[in-house]
């Protein structure tokens, strides 16, 4: 095939790119401009330089939101990977009903995280949720207690609900990685007398690298930009305690602080970018 011949067909990537340019890259660049103004969404915008960014770091609510977002990610992303990997190791053998089990475990991940948050709030409501009554019935008089009264227990519930929902998705990607490891490697390791712990450390983990990379990066991005679960489970409450950055952006945008909200979005972008680059570097360095 003559690959140097230019025609319409060589530019077939253009429609997709144009769509992306208009609805993604253009707003992204506009956002950088907007973040330097005091625009409120309606009247004329004035250039105020880096004031929004300086204000952000003086804004107590914003700092609390960063703390909540980071705490959520620090709990959620590692736990999701550990749980997902253990599920995958458990499921990576031939047994009856394997595909049904895999289906059940994956099911929560297809449901809207917002709706899932509402469902969990029906079950977990302090003092009157279904699980509260169930625990009371089996003799646990305190039931769940009021987990919503403390910041840490509320965060713990948010993290656990998120891990519960996406454990199946993480598992499937680890399963795919496990199944691409040739059996011969394990067989020859067994002949050499390697223990199963050693097999895991020297065969499984290094060869799982691509799956680990995908899971770590997607879980970091997902947990740092968390929105739906928090909205439906706590609404950011009590007060603004469990509000995350993405909820803050939405509320500022509606609260006629449009310029400021884009500045928060740019700060959030760097908060996400840094751990993503670090984890990409770490996984690539070993190759």
């Amino acid at each position: 095939m003559n690959r140097k011949k230019i025609g319409i067909h060589t530019f077939m990537a253009l429609p997709a790119f144009l769509l992306f340019l208009i609805f993604f890259i253009y707003p992204l660049l506009r956002g950088i401009g907007m973040s330097l103004t005091d625009w409120n969404g309606i009247s004329k915008a004035n250039f105020i330089g880096l004031k929004n960014f300086i204000d952000f770091f003086k804004d107590k609510r914003a700092i609390s939101d960063i703390r909540t977002t980071l705490l959520f990610a620090l709990g959620s992303a590692p736990l999701l990977n550990i749980v997902g990997l253990s599920y995958a190791l458990l499921m990576n053998s031939k047994f009856k009903g394997k595909s049904i089990a895999r289906m059940f475990i994956y099911m929560p991940a297809i449901i809207s995280p917002l709706i899932m948050g509402y469902i969990w709030s029906l079950l977990l409501q302090p003092g009157r949720g279904y699980i509260h009554h169930m625990l009371e019935k089996i003799g646990w008089a305190q039931g769940l207690g009021n987990w919503m009264s403390s910041y840490w227990s509320t965060m713990l519930v948010l993290i656990l609900v998120n891990v519960w929902q996406y454990a199946g998705m993480t598992m499937v990607i680890y399963l795919a990685g496990l199944q691409s490891i040739p059996d011969e490697l394990y067989e020859s390791a067994k002949i050499d007398g390697a223990s199963s712990i050693k097999q895991f450390k020297y065969i499984t983990l290094p060869l799982l690298e691509p799956s680990i990379r995908i899971n770590v990066v997607t879980n970091i991005i997902g947990s740092l930009s968390v929105f739906d679960v928090v909205m439906s489970l706590t609404g950011g409450g009590p007060g603004y305690q469990t509000e995350t950055l993405s909820i803050y952006i939405m509320r500022m945008c509606y609260g006629s602080k449009t310029g400021y909200s884009t500045a928060v979005a740019i700060i959030m972008f760097f908060i996400i970018l840094i751990p993503v680059i670090i984890s990409l570097r770490l996984t690539r360095a070993k190759e």
Partner: protein, 274 residues
Amino acid sequence: MRKLATILRYTAIAFICMLSLTPFVILTILALNTPKKNLYEGNMFIPEFYFGNFAEGWVKSNIGRAMINSGIITLLSVALIVILGAMAGYAISRFDFKFNKGIYGTLLCCMMVPGIINTVPLYTLMIKLNAINTLWGMALVCATLSIPQAVFVFTGFIKSIPVEIEEAAIIDGCSWHKIFWKIIFPLLKPAISAVVILNGFGIWNNYSQAVFFLQDRSKHNVPQALSVYFQQFAGAKWNLMAATALIAILPVIIAFLIFQKSLMKGLMDGAIKG
């Protein structure tokens, strides 16, 4: 010893499955209770098999309309993602120009940028385009967010198709238009199903973009409609909330059961290639 390990393994798997399913089971129990049933009394594990909640939830919430809206948005954007993504994947994998390489690189870089970041400026753009509160506008936004990943999957997949087929077609005097649509596109079935399933559920469930771009009640999608309906109860009428939540997740579960085989395959293939 070996038997013990097998038993332990099965118990653990059964436990995990139960853990994943319990909320759905409890939801069903709650949805089948009469409004008067008190959770303190009687057997809380056996519902009263009262189906009135579903009818009431359906009528009083906006969920029917919202399902149509979510359906239209999902169909439109998935069609766009597949067609534009496949075209781009073909050009990028077959014509190794700087231009195409640049497009590919830009898209891959933007894959790491979460959608919420450009939502506010996108909102002002959508107002200018008269695309706020329109299903097509929302479909365009959702499609855009999925384009990088779709192009990535299609490019990888087309690279694995041998070029010889196309070369033979060129010698036979086949036009590019025909080569792409008649030869390449039908070969893309596995990649198409992966892209459709990977993005379809997310678009149906989208909330963080819908909050901005679909504010009119008649244009709400499923998560929004449920959210509005739930907020008016402030946690009071459980039977109704549970029944409506069940209605809301039912289409997704049915679609999942139908497509789960290709979903698992698509996810696994995608994972290995990534």
